[in-house]
Every structure is written in structure tokens, then in C-alpha cells.
Amino acid sequence: MTQPRKRRDDQTALARLTDELVECIHCGLCLEACPTYVELNREEDSPRGRIYLMRSVAEGRAALDGSMLHHLDVCLGCRACETACPSDVKYGLLLEHTRTHIEEAAHRPVWQRLGRRLLMEVFTHSATMALAMFFATLPSRLLRNPPSAPGGIVSRIMGAHGDGGNLRLERFPSPRPSRLQRLTPAAGGKKLRVGLLEGCVMPVLFPEVNMATVRVLSKLGCEVVVPSGQGCCGALHVHNGYGRQAARMALRNMAVFEAAQCDVIVVNSAGCGSTMKEYAGLFPEGSPEREQAAAFSAKVRDVSEVVAALLEQTELKPVEMTVTYHDACHLAHGQKIRSEPRRMLSAIPGLQLVDLPESDHCCGSAGVYSFTQPDMAVRLLKRKVTNIESTGAEVVATGNPGCQMWIRSGLKLEGSSVRALHPIEIVDLALDGATTSGDSPSRH
């Protein structure tokens, strides 16, 4: 494509965002909330700067060139800027639309595009992901090293500069994802019928979190359905510029869960929950799908929202443990959920919940970010690990599998003894459930 034409196309695509872009009053109150600004201290790596870049493309004042692409790529999509913004700028939405245009207008070299697509597909299909993880960990298994997967290769495929190093895992993953029972009855009187999203990453890397979720919900009086036919929620696709595919995935999940007739739809992964609560944005204004999506989203809950409410009338076993809590971005910023997970943990006798400094500062995992921007991801991870260590806690709890995996890997690399768990695993202990992922894995 010729340069001027490309520039015009960029302008047309981003001009659609003008109404939202002008909401930014350039006040800068979001700067210090932005992890990449706090690390790099530069306007072009801040929310305000990125919005300014998008706006100048929309106004035809600038081209979406390599330099601009770089600064947009460094954005984590963590949405901490939305929490800080007094003007209610929907940054996440701006970024998603801009990234969709970047992918669709083919702004990257072919091999990078293919690499991105490939990674997206692997991560969003449990079966392929399980196989990929199996082979990725094979060398460490054969060499009798601790379980690890080489993240650097992936980074290189993605065209990233730098290398996030090896990902340290808790154990060698099974070549097949562990699936959940389709229906688990409520223990005692049934209060709710909940549909559970099984997820893509969970069944491969954290089957125990899924199992704990089912046990806890069932013990608290929920009938748990895991409808078959459900698929990836589409979060990675939305965040990385594949809006159309995400819309297809949303339709499929909407149909499957609709058929399952549940009171609420429970999600134990912050990133998935946040996306599912915003499905409407994937469809054009005024379309019937948009309305359907809004009705679907109204039923979606993070697991902590449901459990915190139900725990209030429940007797819990003491769990002697010092725990600190890391706010996953897509819970704290994406879904504005901060108090529920903490309430859930504080309800447990014997458990001491200690504050984590910068608890809502992104850990750098951010979907596939740790592969696409390994340098920044590792910087943020080190910062997170230092903060965790400073609390003296034995366990760091966090409600998102990506964070759990990344933080756990960081802790292991630093030789820390702190364990990273999903809060629901701790609640599970207090309800006399099974062992946690920090101990030997429970198989189903």
C-alpha cells in the first residue's frame, strides 16, 4: 500500500474513535497509575501520550509508523489508567479498537503476524496448549531439571527484542487438559444454579484451581454446570487486535450458557470475566447481538463476588497462613473488584491478610505480553516479587491464572519460598477441601 493511502486508511479507522478520544482532557492524572510510565518516565509510554498518538492519527496529523506502533505495543492493556481517570475515558476500548486496526491493516511483517496468530491459537485451545506445554517442558524433564518452558523462543517468534527467559512451572503439565465434571450437585440445599467457564489455561496449568472452584461453590449450595461446547472467552483476541474472532467466540459462549439456564455464570479468571462482562462492545451499536450480549454479561460474576456473599453464613476451618493479595488488573481495573476477594480471605479464621505495596500495579504477565514485551514484563515482575517479599507473607493470592503463573515463575527464579495461589484454593482449604497447588497436585 502506498504511504499516503495507508495514512488515510489509518485515519479513517481511528477517526471512528473520535468521540471517545476527545473525552481525554490531557490532565495527566493517569500518569503515575501507569506501570510503563512509572518504569520509563516518558510521555509516549503513558496513557495520555498513547491517547494523544491515537488522536493525532485520527486527525490525520501523524502516521501510524514503527515508532508509534512500538509505544502502543509497550502498553500492557492493564487499564490502571481507567481507574485513575476523572473523565471516565474508556482507554481499554480505545486500545482494543486501535489494535484491531493495526492487525487488520497489516502493519507488521508477515512472519510476526503469523507468529502472533499462532500463539493466539495455541493459548486459546486447551488441547493444543496442553500439548505445546508438554513439548516445551520436555527438555527440562529429560535433563531432570526443575520444570520450565523456554519463553525466549516464543518471544523471538513474536518479533520481540529481548528475552523473558525460561518460565518456571510448579510441575510438569500433563499432555491432556483435565476436564471438569459436567454437573456437580449442590451440597445441602440448592441456593443457585451456576454455570462455570472452564477456561483455556486453567485446565492445562491450574486444574486444581478449577476443581477447588467447583468444590467451594458446591459446598456453599451451588449446583455447578460446566456446559459442554463452551470455548475460549476471546479475551486474548480482543486485547491483541482480533476483534472479529472474539465476536464469534462470544456468540458461541452466549448460546451455550443460555442453553444451560443458569442463574449466574461464574468465572475464576479475571481476564476472562472482564471480557465476558464487556461482550456487548464487540457488536455494532443497535444490533440484536449487542443486546443479547448485554443480557449475557449481566449474569457474569467473578468467583469472588459469588463466594464472598455466600461465605458470610458459613462456618470455616482455621487456616494458619500469612497471605498477601495481588490485585489482578482485570479484576481491580477491568471489573472494579477489590474488596470481595479480600473479604473472602479475611473471613477465614487464623488467616492473616497483610497489605501488598502497589498491590494493583501490573505484574507484567498481561496475556501474551510477557512474550511480546519480555523486557518490560520482567522489570514489572521483579518489582512485584520485591514487593511480595517485603510483606513477609507465605502466600500471595491472585485471581488470574496468567498472574499466578508469571508471579510463581518469578518467585521461583528469585529463590523465594512464597507460594502463589488462587484465593479460591485458600477458601477451599478452609472448607476442608483438597490440597493446594503448592503441594502435590490432585488428579481427577
Binding site: 473525552e23 482532557i25 492524572l29 500518569l31 503515575e32 516518558r42 509516549e44 471516565d88
Partner: protein, 499 residues
Amino acid sequence: MDVDRKGSPSIMLPSADTRTAPGETASNTALVRDLAAIVGSENVCSTTAERMVYESDGFTMARRRPAAVVHPASTAEVQAIVRLAASRGIPFVARGAGTGLSGGAMAPPGGIIISLTRMRRILDIDLRNRRLTAEAGVVNLKVTQAVAAHGLHYAPDPSSQSACTLGGNVAENAGGPHTLKYGVTVNHLLGLKMVLPCGELLDIPGETEDNPGYDLPGLITGSEGTLGIVTEVTVRLTPLPQKTWTALAVFETITDATRCVSSIIAAGIIPAALELMDANVIQAVEAAFHFGLPLDAQAVLIIELDGLEAGLDELGARVRGICESHAVRELRIARDEAERTALWMCRKKAVGSLGRLAPSHCTQDCVIPRSALPEVLEKIGQIARDFDLRIANVFHAGDGNLHPIVLYDDRDEEQVQRVLECNAAIVRACVEAGGTITGEHGVGVEKLEFMPLIFSDADLATMDRVRAAFDAQGLCNPGKLLPGGGGCADLVLNKKAAV
């Protein structure tokens, strides 16, 4: 005060962009290379996209793209950069967080921006003497956070305190809601290090309270970056009050509220803060935060008292009495810290929430004698009717620091023109009432044309000479603060071209 222009129009200074847009000229490349030799290439912004985002600060009605942006990490690096610029005759400007509301941190023509944001270390905390030394890029709020555990805080609290830097605060002599009792930046600055426009270092240690000779920190505070580049400051730490009493007073008319303000001060009470929000603001804030503000009231006051526990409730009772004598409809006292925080959030995010009433807004910043509040507010109401525009008022009533906010739609060119004229009318009305043209946002480029309204030729010439004593070459933030300063006549906002 708060935010400024909502989604302001894309206004350009005459020919500013064309001058620097092509960017990668030969001299530019050489400049970038030499700057990189000082700070490392990763700390120089040179691409179009990178330079573009520094076109303006929080005042977006004027913009100019810098030739380069350089991010030093030490005073020595700042000196080297300034020496390089001085030797080549390249103008330069310091930039903190870019939250300024008068265009002060905009690049001079062909100039470079020296960004202080990497200099964000707190260097020394001296609890015994209640003093803290920090680099200029440290964010205001971080100072309070660093000492809060010791029962101390840094008193100047601009609404932008979560983002703005100490260097920017010094340059603008920033204040906030609590400056009524605690004073503005200049009252809390003990010492500083500043790189002079020739590259020499001015170092005023601030170890003792009283220094002989000229009060240079006093002169530098509020100089809007025209006398040099501040790299370190030593500030005073203030004990946190033992107890706080915060109330919301609801009034049927704005005049009742403003008279009440005068009476409180006249009674010899110095509240920690005394803020007013009018009906337009109440509506927007209520829509955003659901605090339970009465939608039919014409004005509310946020009154905060603080100090020793003993006697505070009695003082509160006196304030209640004064409010009652001014026909207060309701006086609600915050029961706990959570309620107090919620009330302050309404206030500090008030301007941001005005986006709910109109697509764009534009904040004025004038100070008038407190006693003139009722009359000037009425006048502003009249101006709004004359120009057929809606104006919201949220301001530091205790200081008489007004922030009339004009609501409009920046996509309508005719309206934009009206807004500019309306703003000028407001400034004139304030000056006529014995006031001045800016309280805390500074002159920058925004208020340049109004300087002759309050200063005589002799005043301005004296200021020009002070400036020249620091900056003989006229390279340090030229075209700001003083109308004639730096000889950059083209910096006066071209309002016709602006639309």
C-alpha cells in the same frame, strides 16, 4: 483547583508545526546525537511520534512540537545539556509531569524540552528537623506518602498532586484546597538546586530558616521555569492534624454561601479548607459519584477544620452558628474518614466529572478579594447570559480563588470563539473587582496578553531585567510569563487562527 479544557480544539500556534514537523533534518540529527552523548540514546526522544506527545501540557489550546526531548538523570547531566544548548543558541524548557494549565511547559520555537521525570529520587528525610530533600521530578503525593507513617505530610496539595512534580510546583507556586490555612509552595520551600541558563549551578542549601541576602528561593518560586532548571528541592514537612472536622453546608442561593464564607473568615476562624461548588457542579458530581448532594440547592460549601482534638468540636459549633445565620439549609458533618474521603473525591474530581454536562470545558483561574465574591459571581452569571454559555463554578472560596468553568462544544467553531471572548470578559471582571489574572495556574502563554492589565510598563520592565540577570541569552523558556520576555512576539496566541 482542577482540570482544564475538555477535549480542546486542535489549535496551533501560527506556523509552529510546520517549523518542526519534518523533524529529522540534518541539524536535528546532530543535536540528537550530541544529547545522546550526554544521557544515552535511549533517553532522547527523536522520532515524530515521540516528540509529538510533548506538544502541550495540560493546556491544550496551544501546542508546539519540540526539536527533541531529553531525559537527564542527574544535576550534572542537566548542566551538560544546558551548556550544550547555550553554546548553540538553542532555547530550552523544563518539563515536569506536564499538568500545567497555562502552556508553560510548551517548547519554544526550535527548542528542546528537558524532562525531569527520571529524576524521581527522594534523597534525604530529616525527621528531627522536619525536612525532606528530593529531586525535582518527584511527584508531590510521594512526599506525603514517604513520611505519613511518621505523622507528617507535605502541605501544598494541588488537585493534581497524584501526578505533578515538585519542580513544577515550585515553578508555578502551586497551591491546593488546604493552602487557605497552610500556605502555598513558597511557604514550604526551604532550599533548592537550580541549573542557571548558562549551565552554572545555584545551590541554596536550606538548612536554616533564615538566609541573609536576597530571597532567591522566593524569587524562583512562581517564575514558571524562566530563571533556570530546578533539579533538587528541600521542603518543609508539616505534622498531620490530630483531628479533622469536615462538613457539607447546603445553601439556597450562591450569595448566602459566599457571604457565609466571608463571615467565617471575619470571625477569625481559619478553616483548613473552604470550597464552593455551584448547582451545575452539584449536578455533574452527583451523576458521577452519587454522594447524595441535594440537586435543587444553588451552592454547597465544603468546610474543613483541623488541629488539636481539644476545642475542635467547639470551633465546629461556631461554624455551624455562622452557617445558620446565613440561612444554611442543611449542615452535614462527615461521620468518619470514609465519608470525608468520599466528599473530597467529589471535590477533587469535580472538574473531570463536568464531561457529563458538555463535551468540552475550559477553566479560568482568577483571584479576587473575598469580600467581592457575591458581586463577582453575579457578574459572571451575567457574562454567561450575555455570551449564551453555561458556566459552572467550583473553587477555593476561602482564598477568593475563582475557577469559572465554561461549558461548550469544541466541534462548534462559533462557540469556541465565543468561549475565548467570554473568558477574556471574566478575567476583566475579576481585575476590575480588584483581583488578579491567575491564582495558581500561572501565566504561561495563556495569560500573557492580560499581564498589562495588572502591571504597569515599569513593573514589567523591572521583571524583564530580573529575568535578564539570570538568562542573558534569553534561551530559558522564552515567550512565557512576561509579554516582552525573550523577544518571541509570535508566541502570543493567535485566536483567529486558533479556531
